[in-house]
Symmetry: C2
Subunit: 113 residues, 2 copies
DNA sequence: GCGTTACTTAGGTATATGTCTAAGTATGAC
DNA sequence: GTCATACTTAGACATATACCTAAGTAACGC
């Protein structure tokens, strides 16, 4: 049973922003430098860096600096914790004991329309 | 290819809060009234209702009021959009053309240690 | 070494978020 | 009809978030 995990807060919150999801979609195709990543986003660089910082804090992205260039990469198994949590809930839902009851209840309501 | 979808913002943001994830975990086991849901949370009811409102806005929860009681339920396929987005990224990542290159690069780095 | 590039740090602002208390409203029970 | 129950609405507040500009710093490249 999944207990409360503060890392999931950061992970899902990070995913809740369109800019950050676009960064992840880009990184899914391969590593990139900060300026490469920033280029399509109409945003000042410091603002953009904040997004990268959150992705890294959430464990979704890793980065290393070589010379003056920072290269970012999708973290290995970046999405596993999020996917696992979601799957666990889906499975609980699908395995509910009262599922048949609900099914019947809905059917009855449909007929009354 | 997934374009920018504002519904995913709400969905992932909703998941980024521990109170809301606990609500969803509870609802995965079956429907419940607002007060049943609120009971384990040490929080004023109006504050708690805000969380429910966000879950509903995100399409994760549905609710109907019968008399003075509002019953909440996990939305059908609540987690599908989130799971789909995550899976799409994982697949892109796993299918990268340069994956073998990376593998070799990592191997070389390991040997230098 | 000097200018250019690629970030970084500092500090500011506006809006959103998560919480509260106090005061509704609508139902159900007696 | 009156009282308790189950939310709801309204309004306040503190912190977090998403952005900005301006001014660093630390490599390259000639």
């Amino acid at each position: 049973m999944s207990k409360y995990d503060p890392k999931l807060d950061q992970c899902f919150s990070a995913l809740g922003d369109p800019t950050r999801r676009l960064i992840l979609q880009r990184l899914a195709r391969g590593e990139a430098s900060v300026s490469e990543l920033a280029e399509p986003h109409d945003m000042a660089l410091p603002s953009f860096m904040e997004h990268l910082k959150k992705l890294e804090a959430a464990g979704l992205v890793t980065s290393k600096k070589q010379g003056r260039t920072r290269t970012c990469e999708l973290a290995p198994d970046a999405f596993a914790p999020a996917k696992d949590w979601l799957s666990e809930q889906s499975e609980t839902w699908e395995g509910r004991l009262d599922r048949f009851d609900d099914y019947v209840k809905n059917l009855m309501q449909e007929r009354q329309k």
